[in-house]
């Protein structure tokens, strides 16, 4: 690369000697929109190859001959030609090109580029598009808005995490989440995975970002787009540009406020006819099943030995929920002088959840300032302080989850009316051996507190008008503390697995990511027609984190949340340090603007590999060709724009920290089965050899992608189509390869296995109506993706992604990524269920694939209708396919609480058990089954506890994801007020859901949150909808 630079420098030296003119013109170029100066404007003498560009402060200097005209052009502005006459000073105001404005995109390295010159796919989401739904998590706000991006919210609890997969998967067990970048500096979006069998619903850290601070988000979709961010962007990157003050802008104050009600968007339909009971339609007050007698006011003895009359309580489940409130308020001050600009904002978000003891309160303080220090030097600083406090409750497959069995609460149990605890002792009162939902919400608590600083400083120095040196240093430092408290008498694992003795878990995670970028950015016309942009530099990333936790059990005093209250305390401490150094270069050649070719190369040095393996190189090449500009004859009233593009890119990915050394562990954790081994035992610390053998020769994973794209616009840009087809191949994947335990290990960290994907993305934009009073814009995106596991390591049949051993999500060679695997029915030779003499099915001893969690396709359709001062926006989110294992649905059936289980009378007229069902299937003798069975036999046989196959439901949906109606108050009305602009309206999210094959619940759910295991629900909590109103005023 050094050679390239050298030769290029030499070439430039030759070119510069060609200048020989007579008069110097100087001036400044500013924007018509806000008067801010525009750097990088190309200034050329009409009819010649001579030209320059404006420097950082928008000034230029050019030597011209008499009678020459100057052409000013810049991305995002209309070209302007001005006769220079004999002036020596010429200030120019460029008009914003509204048609092209949204075509400028932020690319890797924070470089703004004209979208039409790019050889790869990107998408940009503006603040207005992002904030329609007023959701807490900005990742949620991307749902259905971008082709190729899959958003998967884990559940509707306050602060719950949402996973984002850009173009699917590139690795097996490592992270498939993209890199988040704020103003050119990566930030941490870690966290967000949930334990399957204990703990609360966690946040992914992008939730800390205040959406009101976001000017736009640019989504870089593949390795080609993200090659310059290296390893961490192998799964794409989300580049967030924050709002900033602009030079020359008058001071203003913007106030933004929204108030939304949050509620459960879908609750099960229950039968309310039959009471608790297990066998023979008899009432059993301690059974958690509802196969009992018909509820008819008869006198019974309840679980507490009291007499009561059997009554149905149709709302005993829905009453557990409350209406939550999401309130967001933002105040910002911005302005600028001719040399500097600033923006300060304060944002507050308060959300109370759909369950008590759930809340989130977040404050964001943001300051952005930039200044033109001198003609050549500009500097900017951006600092954000975030403080966030939340309360959460238990989730997952555990007895302390308030919904472990509450979804199928016996229909006759007066959960609201019967006290949940003994007022004298605080001990819980419940018929079942799980925690009472109200009791666990009140008593098993979890709070967390986050303090986070994200900041960067940037300096840009123009060595020459066409050559700048850029240095940026960013830091993302946070301290995150949690306190979990498990009440004495808690029955589930909750925060501490204290087994009823009460427990306290304190943890603190401090982390610091430093990112340093040194870049040389230049652009120069090599000839009149051939232009070169380049960007070479290095990146140094250093991440350090320290985690400490103390868990105390055996509490002496109720509710004393102090670790000293515990008589047995175990501690844990972990650090993870890593550094990545990358050296990169990007060279973009543009011929007359319509033929573009871009090369990138990067070499990484990663501390996660051993000495011999830690340096690796990867390149990319991308090209685009704008046919309508190359051959203007192609342009017609029908075709306005046609572009073809393609790219090939490779990206290397580093390993997790410390994957190359085999170490000893403090004996403590079991593998989830068998006895929990805990130390210290009698003050003795036990140790165990790690179960994973490390490979010192571990090397990087590589993902190679190929993409072709076509973009066309018709009818004077009223209709646009963008299509991209891509495939990716990921090889040398790093994972803990299972090995036979007789080796003493159960896995070995190795490079093995490969994964391939092909996908297709389509974006259609249309403006069916456009009048002076308003317009109707449609933007529809469509994505299909086919991720296939190509190979695993030799002898490895599968890799467990998540869930239980069975059912769970797994990877099998030749199968789709994230296959659901579990128990299946015995089948007759005709493929139908094999039915026994008792009329019932049976389970096969062999398990099998029971579902594919990948959607067949997804689509999002945004309609934006503007009429005079009204704006109506709504987003339809469609998902076809994508199987979900739903424990909750199966539980409703198995327990006899779902409405369907009472579709037929369970008793005959004379009180016998009715047998209204005949399971469709074939007997061993090949005849169809004709044996009738009771409702209980039917539902508890088909949805028997271990029956994985019938717990899988098609997660297809059609939903009104977001909608808003806003009204902009006419300026006439505001004339006599201090308010300059005002917009108010109503908004909503998840307002309507149609999931034809997924009864009772919202299929958007995932037990383990942000993990590669998707489509698996185990006693999950519901999704929410929110609706409310908002106001935005500028003073």
């Amino acid at each position: 690369m050094k050679k390239l630079v050298l030769s290029w420098v030499l070439m430039m030296a030759v070119v510069s000697t060609l200048f020989a003119q007579t008069r110097q013109v100087t001036g400044k170029v500013t924007s018509s929109e806000d008067g801010s100066t525009i750097p990088g404007v190309s200034v050329s003498i009409k009819g010649t190859t001579t030209g320059t560009t404006t420097s950082a402060d928008g000034t230029y200097k050019i030597t011209v001959g008499n009678g020459a005209s100057l052409v000013f052009s810049s991305v995002g502005f209309l070209n302007k030609t001005i006769p220079a006459g004999n002036a020596t000073s010429l200030n120019v105001i460029l008009e914003v090109d509204s048609k092209l404005l949204n075509e400028v995109v932020v690319t890797a390295g924070g470089v703004l580029r004209d979208k039409k010159s790019l050889g790869y796919a990107t998408s940009t989401i503006t603040n207005e598009q992002l904030t329609v739904g007023r959701t807490t998590n900005p990742v949620n706000a991307l749902a259905a808005k971008v082709a190729g991006v899959r958003i998967a919210s884990s559940n509707g609890m306050v602060g719950s995490s949402t996973a984002i997969f850009i173009r699917g998967f590139t690795t097996f067990t490592g992270s498939n989440q993209p890199l988040f970048v704020v103003d050119g500096v990566p930030i941490d979006n870690g966290g967000g995975s949930n334990a399957l069998q204990n703990g609360v619903s966690n946040s992914n850290r992008a939730i800390d970002i205040n959406q009101e601070d976001i000017e736009n988000m640019s989504i870089l979709k593949g390795p080609a787009a993200a090659a310059l961010y290296g390893s961490r962007a192998a799964n794409g990157a989300i580049l967030i540009t924050t709002k900033k003050g602009k030079t020359g802008q008058k001071n203003s104050v913007v106030f933004n406020s929204s108030y939304n009600i949050v509620e459960v968007n879908r609750l099960p339909d229950y039968q309310n006819e039959y009471a608790q009971g297990t066998v023979g339609g008899r009432y059993n007050p301690i059974s958690n099943l509802s196969w009992g007698p018909k509820i008819a006011g008869q006198a019974v003895t309840n679980a507490f030995g009291k007499q009561e009359n059997l009554t149905a309580y149709p709302n005993n489940v829905s009453d557990i929920f409350q209406k939550g409130i999401n309130m967001q308020n933002n105040l910002s001050f911005q302005g600028g002088t001719d040399k500097s600009a600033f923006r300060f904002s304060y944002g507050n978000l308060q959300e109370t959840g759909i369950l008590s003891s759930n809340s989130l309160n977040r404050n964001n303080f943001t300051l952005n300032a930039n200044s033109q220090v001198s003609e050549k030097l500009s500097a900017s600083v951006s600092a954000q302080y975030i403080t966030s406090v939340s309360e959460r409750s238990q989730i997952g497959n555990q007895l302390s989850n308030p919904f472990f069995r509450s979804w199928f609460m016996p229909r006759n149990y007066d959960l609201t009316g019967i006290p949940f605890e003994d007022p004298a002792t605080g001990n819980q009162v419940f018929f079942d051996n799980t925690d009472n939902p109200y009791w666990t919400l009140k008593n098993n608590t979890f709070t967390d507190e986050l303090d986070r600083v994200i900041g960067n400083i940037a300096l840009k120095y123009y060595l020459k008008p066409w050559l700048a040196v850029n240095y940026r240093l960013g830091v993302d430092a946070s301290a995150y503390g949690t306190v979990g408290y498990d009440q004495i008498g808690a029955r589930g694992g909750a925060n501490t697995s204290a087994g009823g003795t009460g427990g306290i878990a304190n943890s603190s995670l401090t982390s610091r990511d430093m990112n340093s970028y040194f870049q040389i950015i230049g652009n120069k016309n090599i000839t009149d027609d051939l232009k070169l942009d380049f960007n070479i530099g290095n990146e140094i990333v250093e991440s350090r984190s320290t985690y400490m936790s103390t868990t105390g059990r055996n509490l002496a005093i109720r509710d004393l949340k102090n670790i000293s209250n515990a008589s047995v305390v175990t501690a844990f401490n972990q650090t993870a340090n890593r550094r990545l150094v990358g050296v990169f270069g990007e060279f973009n050649f543009s011929y007359k603007g319509y033929a573009n070719l871009s090369f990138t190369g990067r070499n990484d040095y990663s501390s996660t590999f051993g000495a011999g393996q830690n340096s690796y190189f990867y390149p990319s090449i991308a090209g685009s060709f704008i046919a309508t500009e190359a051959f203007p004859a192609l342009k017609s009233n029908v075709l306005s724009f046609l572009k073809l593009s393609g790219n090939y890119a490779k990206v290397g990915k580093e390993a997790g920290t410390y994957a190359t050394n085999t170490l000893f562990l403090l004996a403590g954790a079991s593998d989830g089965f068998g006895p929990v081994i805990n130390f210290p035992y009698n003050n003795l610390g036990g140790r165990t050899l790690s179960n994973t053998q490390a490979d010192p020769n571990l090397g990087p994973e590589f993902t190679t992608s190929r993409e072709i794209g076509l973009e066309a616009k018709f009818f004077k840009n009223r209709l646009g189509i963008e299509m991209n087809y891509f495939n990716t191949l990921s090889t040398d994947l790093i994972f803990a390869v299972p090995v036979g335990p007789s080796t003493g290990f159960t896995s070995q960290n190795r490079n093995a296995g490969s994964l391939k994907q092909k996908g297709f993305e389509l974006l259609i934009t249309a403006t069916p109506l456009q009048t002076s009073n308003g317009s109707w814009d449609i933007s529809a995106n469509f994505t299909t993706l086919d991720p296939i596991v190509e190979s695993l390591a030799k002898g490895v049949e599968f890799i467990q992604l998540g869930g239980f051993t069975t059912p769970g999500t797994r990877l099998y060679a030749g199968q789709p990524y994230g296959l659901l695997f579990g128990s299946v029915f015995n089948r007759a030779s005709d493929g139908k269920k094999l039915i026994g003499a008792n009329g019932l099915t049976s389970l096969s001893p062999l398990q099998g694939a029971i579902g594919n969690t990948n959607p067949d396709w997804t689509a999002g359709i945004t309609n934006n209708i503007r009429y005079k001062n009204f704006n109506f926006n709504f987003l339809i989110d469609i998902r076809k396919g994508g199987d979900v294992y739903s424990r909750n649905i199966g539980d409703l059936y198995r327990s006899g609480t779902a409405k369907e289980t009472a579709e037929f009378d369970r008793f005959t007229a004379n009180g016998d058990i009715a047998k209204p069902y005949i399971i469709e299937g074939t007997l061993a003798n090949g005849q169809p089954n004709t044996t009738p069975v009771s409702a209980q036999d039917y539902w508890s046989n088909i949805y028997n506890f271990g029956t994985g196959e019938s717990y899988v439901f098609d997660g297809s949906w059609l939903r009104l994801r977001e909608a808003s109606i806003s009204y902009t108050v006419p300026s006439k009305v505001l004339a006599k007020t201090p308010i300059g602009k005002m917009e108010l309206g109503v908004n909503g999210r998840n307002l309507w859901l149609y999931a034809p094959n997924f009864p009772h619940f919202d299929p958007e759910t995932n037990a383990t949150g942000v993990t590669n295991s998707q489509g698996f629900e185990a006693n999950g909590l519901p999704q929410t909808r929110n609706y409310g109103f908002f106001l935005r005023a500028t003073f």
């Binding site: 150094v581 050296v583 140790r687 335990p741 003493g744 290990f745 049949e797």
Partner: protein
């Protein structure tokens, strides 16, 4: 132009400076690369005891297999379904990965420690070897042929399975050597490291002898001379009083309670009840252990449920207070089993001290005392003609087998092995049994894929990888 060139200098400088110490950042500072070897030993023993003690349906279901416990709700494991919950995997992994790997690593570190006195080193290595033999014997007597010579070596990803008989012989040979190495005059592990005998080397010698006695007797039907040699070599040195018992004692405080306590008391699991088979034997002979083994049902009566049938929990007896106590110990080796072994050796004509009847009486008396009964109760129990050695029903195998089955309560793996070996008592198949009586566990299904060639060879060598294949020593 030269000025531009200067720009690249810091660029290169930054890049190279930052790559220099990359290796140091790859050092995990919070997890040790070197540790005190005894901590691995302590943990391995605790893991082993936990696996043997637990009633987890994912790991250890032999209480149901031997008709000592029945299940109220879920019947899979009681009906000999070992596959659904992948029990062979947990058992196999638990022994190889959680016990043997740590014992072997501990021995490696102790061997390499130049600061240890020779005798202390020898004692520690001998104790580790005895525990390794103990653990391997469980594997070989559960599965048959198992990886042995090539096991526990990460360089051997596909270890061959060794012939079970050869392994058994090798284990006895190792025991002979290790018992001989133990020197009570020198130190062993310290009192806190040694979670079984608190550093008492002479008791480890007794433990080793009882183990050799037991493993020898396993071979009695197939290799009488080996059994005889092992029994006669061990008789004098084996456990001779309850105070020599090798116990792993769980603690009353979380998190080191007995796993049964965690499951039943803390977890509130209402699924395990007494099996009718054992309960009827206890009640029929007025066994003083009845109320010590089991609690009463909700009606205050003792009753056992039928194995494999859905039983109403409240109607049946459950595990007794001593079984579910947080600090209930697990018995790794004890006087009771040693006395039964002596009685059996006598009946097989081996040269051991005492009479079969006296050893039989000692064993039963020791069992009753261990569980909290009195000597008087034991004497009354033994006085019954159905119990008394001279008059109890059947041949010596039936007499010893039946009483050993009762006395080995709460040592589920040992109970299963003795039932297989002595073929007494005859276990009634559970309702809806998935197979005949399981005489072994199938190999973990992961072995089929991860070590397929050797798995296939082993499966055919032992006569098929099914639960009803009889192990080489199981002749009847």
């Amino acid at each position: 132009m030269k000025r531009i060139f200067l720009v690249f200098v810091p660029l290169l400088f930054l890049a190279t400076a930052c790559t220099e110490d990359l290796a140091s950042l790859n050092v995990e500072t919070k997890k040790p690369a070197a540790i005190p070897a005894p901590t691995l030993f302590s943990n391995a023993v605790k893991s082993l005891a936990g696996n043997l003690a637990t009633a987890s349906v994912n790991v250890n279901v032999f209480r149901f297999t031997t008709s000592q416990w029945a299940m109220a709700v879920y019947q899979d494991e009681a009906q000999y379904d070992f596959a659904t919950r992948a029990i062979p995997n947990s058992w196999w992994n638990g022994m190889y990965r959680d016990v043997l790997a740590d014992l072997r690593e501990s021995a490696r570190l102790i061997n390499a420690d130049p600061t240890l006195l020779p005798k202390e080193k020898a004692n520690k290595l001998a104790i580790l070897d005895i525990m390794e033999v103990y653990t391997f014997s469980i594997l070989v007597n559960t599965f048959g042929n198992v990886p042995y010579t090539q096991a526990l070596d990460a360089a051997q990803l596909f270890p061959v399975y060794d012939d079970a008989k050869t392994v058994s012989a090798s284990l006895l040979t190792r025991l002979n050597a290790s018992i001989a190495k133990l020197d009570p005059s020198a130190a062993g592990f310290t009192a806190s490291e040694d979670v079984v005998y608190k550093g008492n080397v002479s008791k480890w010698a007794k433990f080793g002898n009882t183990l050799r006695f037991k493993l020898g007797m396993v071979l009695a039907d197939v290799d009488g001379s080996a059994a005889k040699a092992a029994a006669e070599a061990s008789d004098a040195g084996a456990i001779s009083t309850a105070s020599d018992n090798g116990l792993f004692t769980f603690l009353s405080a979380s998190p080191n309670q007995n796993p049964i306590h965690v499951d039943i008391v803390l977890g509130g699991r209402q699924d395990y009840i007494a099996a009718k088979d054992l309960m009827d034997k206890l009640l029929g002979w007025n066994d003083p252990r009845t109320g010590l083994y089991f609690s009463t049902n909700n009606g205050g009566k003792y009753a056992g449920g039928i194995v494999g049938k859905v039983n109403t929990y409240v109607d049946f007896s459950r595990a007794g207070a001593k079984v579910i106590a947080a600090d209930a110990p697990y018995v790794l080796a004890d006087y009771v089993e040693t006395e039964f072994l002596r009685a059996e050796a006598k009946e097989r004509g081996f040269t051991v001290a005492g009479s079969a009847e006296s050893h039989y009486n000692n064993a039963i008396t020791a069992s009753i005392l261990y569980w909290g009964g009195t000597a008087a109760q034991a004497a009354a129990y033994l006085a019954q003609p159905e119990v008394a050695y001279a008059t109890a029903e059947g041949d010596w195998k039936q007499k010893i087998g039946t009483q050993k089955w009762i006395a080995l309560y709460n040592r589920p793996y040992e109970t299963w092995t003795e039932v297989r070996r002595l073929d007494q008592p005859k276990i009634t198949a559970p309702i809806n049994a998935k197979s005949g009586f399981p005489t072994r566990l199938t190999y973990p299904n992961t072995e089929q894929t991860l070590n397929g060639k050797n798995y296939t060879a082993a499966a055919s060598a032992i006569g098929g990888d099914v639960v009803t294949t009889k192990l080489f020593w199981d002749k009847n």
